[in-house]
Symmetry: C2
Subunit: 336 residues, 2 copies
């Protein structure tokens, strides 16, 4: 695999442009598709870039005498994956200078107790963002929990009002993973306008919002992608899936199936964004390792850009949560 | 054009089935694709069927001594198309036995005055449904007006909470046109599960909700279609549009462009649902006539099913508004 990290190019790009200048970005990267192997999008470097922007902003507000932003992370029970996710979020808060509080409740907590806790945080003026790590135990209704977080502190974007805002092209807290997808696309200078995008997976926190952000009108508040979008999912027949993935200039995969996307399913030069996080046993070493939904080794030879797993969309998701928390702190969204 | 109306078949279907039995429907219609011309879906007959169901239900509740459902229709200004739409809605209310009140405000009305009027209707317990005919004049913010209608009376489904509910697969007032699309599909016995659907047009009241209802999970409250869905729109390049439309088992078109969809763009046996309403001058007669977005004469020779314009989705939209008003009256949706 001969793909090189984009981190150097990003630094160059940042040094050449003060804000977003997609045209320049395009020119910088337009030669990439001529290479025989994909540019690997360095999610760790990109995430650091975003976290550094948040950190710099916080350093400034603190220097001016204001308080730090504050994020409350609530976790119910002892799901190991949830523990890891929460740990990574708290670590990013420490890095950026966001004050954080992690609250862990026992699996036996009642729905009312959880809702009361959320409500207490809603009414606490020193709290900017509230996040309940999903999933919650079965005796608690996930939708109720998501709607309990007041929209202006809902940094996960799961409150039904924020879902409605996103789907109405209104500025909102975009769930961190789809927000990360769009940020990767923009910062890498990948054109979406009039392109074909295919999203595999229709989850409400990843696939659906990705499809929304890729297809909708770029001139409205969400600054969406204006791409033609196909949404594939578990009931897309196996023989139909490649029919669509092969049309994709941008392929976003979030299914939770290792090696679902193979090289023959990908168009030459496409951008492939892999959101899968699967734990599998490495045949060579016998150890557990993380892989995405894309056959990375083979697809990287054909794609124009590709995100790796790990080191791709995972860190980006955490970085976008920091950005959302900063947005909440600055009250950038008008909920009237 | 040799296609025959489906009204007879529907009567047969209704006489054979008490509620929705898709399997039987499928068996009844499975021979259709063998014919060389499309079955024309009779929107007028289907709409009457739905309105009669609402009417029968209202007759029963009135007979039991309860009040009739009540719909308030608010129109601002003198847009001729809006006048026609409102007239058709009021007429359908009269047919079904829904009490209706049509309020017309001058173009000069202020946003506050309109919002106050909506609020008054929100607080009136004798009012079940409130509808503001769009568009509103430019000095009034459409989004504010839509959000002013309380979710439980929002029979148009335009309040951001109802948009969020729809996009979260929760039961809600589905905007009447996409609700009509799904109703036509179901009552005609057209399979969506695992099929390819293509929606042309990404409007928030038609294209987007159609894409949502066609792709999402059938086991949740919206009982969505489980189809693979492609959403095409104004920025889909002309040479790409047929690439996608030709994959469609179900093609939904809502663009406002006469003859956008020609026969060469349609797969043999596809279901073609035409939501376009365009006023054009008939070359033969010199008179103005209504046409859809599909080249009906030619596409009808190739499609499996097709909705005509007029007499297709227009009447269905009005009928679904009646159904939504009845849902509001019965408080069928739990907004907690």
């Amino acid at each position: 695999m001969s793909g090189k990290s984009l981190s150097f190019s990003f630094k160059l790009y940042k040094s050449l442009t003060k804000s977003s200048k997609p045209f320049l970005t395009k020119r910088l990267f337009q030669t990439c598709n001529r290479l025989s192997a994909a540019k690997i999008i360095n999610g760790v470097a990109l995430a650091k870039e975003i976290k550094d922007e948040v950190k710099n902003e916080i350093d400034e507000v603190v220097a001016s005498g204001k308080r730090r932003p504050k994020l409350i992370v609530i976790r119910v029970g002892e799901d190991p994956a949830s523990k890891t996710y929460v740990k990574n979020k708290i670590k990013a808060c420490e890095y950026t200078g966001i004050e954080s509080e992690s609250i862990t409740l026992p699996t036996t907590v009642s729905e009312d107790e959880l809702l009361n806790l959320i409500n207490k945080q809603n009414n606490d003026d020193s709290v900017d963002g509230i996040l309940v790590q999903l999933p919650v135990p079965e005796h608690i209704t996930e939708r109720k929990v998501c709607n309990a977080v007041t929209p202006s502190k809902d940094v996960d974007g799961f409150n039904v009002i924020n879902v409605g805002r996103l789907c109405s092209d209104q500025m909102t807290f975009i769930p961190a993973t789809p927000a990360g997808v769009m940020e990767v696309i923009r910062r890498t200078g990948i054109e979406t306008f009039g392109k074909n995008a295919v999203v595999c997976g229709r989850s409400k926190n990843v696939g659906m919002p990705c499809a929304m952000l890729l297809h909708a009108d770029g001139k409205y508040e969400t600054q969406a992608g204006d791409a033609t979008v196909t949404l594939c999912h578990r009931y897309t027949p196996p023989e139909q899936l490649p029919v669509f993935t092969k049309t994709a200039d941008i392929l976003v995969v979030a299914c939770g199936i290792p090696k679902l996307i193979t090289a023959d399913m990908v168009k030459e030069g496409a951008t492939v964004i892999d959101i899968g996080i699967n734990r599998i046993v490495d045949e060579k070493t016998g150890k557990t390792k993380l892989v995405g939904d894309v056959d990375f080794e083979e697809v990287a030879k054909k794609a124009g850009y590709i995100t790796p797993v790990p080191g791709g969309m995972g860190p980006m998701t955490v970085a976008m949560l920091m950005k959302n928390t900063m947005m909440a702190y600055k009250k950038e969204i008008n909920f009237d």
